[in-house]
Symmetry: C2
């Protein structure tokens, strides 16, 4: 049991790790965590932006790019969340994270899972090859982004 | 044929896209591309760091985390490269990218592919479940990172 708890604690530390060398019990510095979570969000923007443009008919639909980006987003949708540790709440780094993230953890978690679910559905739809379904799934991902930002990110 | 060329050009533009709205022929601004490629590198560090620590015996080996991170790295290993467009060569952004990236594109491409190959092998090894093989594969990824940085990244 003790080992299990230790192992879970390690998993947290390791999951948030960076660099080539790290101490077993060294938590990442808040500024590192902020940089990593912002990196994940930035890449979500890179790979979701074009899909949103396609769904809105602003750029030509390309099923291959949609499937590729949906795969990337599946990985990226899991990456930012361990960077929102309580000690990142008051970092001097410029961030748009709102206090609601730490005040309403269950709601924040729910928003993450809603987003991840929408991305999973998009990945499945993009493999199915139906353009209409896939565009609808892109729209749902966009709504999930927006719903979370609305409540947990400063304007 | 004309359509094919157009489509390839669009794919380039779209592949480098970001934000919720973008013009079909609008290339991303150099500073956006630099930020995106640095984000991808930062996340490679986040997910490779702990594996390197495990391979070196500095933190306990956790097969589940290795497999998860190897999957993330498979996606991340494809993300930085379209951000090294020629117009990012002289951006005012702080970057460690060396001129060799643009002077020796074939060698740079080869280094990317070497890294991606090493990550693929790591992902396969981590699914295989043999700790020794997996640690060796982690070492090969580390070497691939280092070889590319040695030649294409400032100290």
């Amino acid at each position: 049991m003790k080992r299990k708890v230790l192992s879970a604690a390690l998993a947290l530390v390791v999951g948030a790790g960076t660099g080539y060398v790290l101490n077993v019990f060294a938590q990442q510095k808040p500024e590192v965590l902020v940089g990593q979570r912002q990196a994940a969000m930035k890449l979500q923007g890179k790979y979701f932006g074009p899909l949103s443009g396609m769904a809105q008919g602003k750029i030509p639909y390309d099923a291959k790019i949609v499937a590729r980006n949906a795969g990337y987003l599946s990985a990226l949708s899991e990456m930012p969340w361990d960077g929102f540790t309580p000690d990142t709440k008051d970092t001097p780094e410029k961030t748009r994270a709102l206090p609601a993230i730490w005040a309403e953890p269950a709601k924040f978690k729910e928003a993450q899972e809603h987003f991840q679910g929408a991305v999973s559905k998009l990945a499945a739809a993009s493999k199915g090859g139906d353009e209409g379904n896939t565009k609808a799934a892109i729209g749902e991902v966009g709504k999930a982004c927006g719903a979370c930002h609305e409540h947990f990110r400063a304007k």
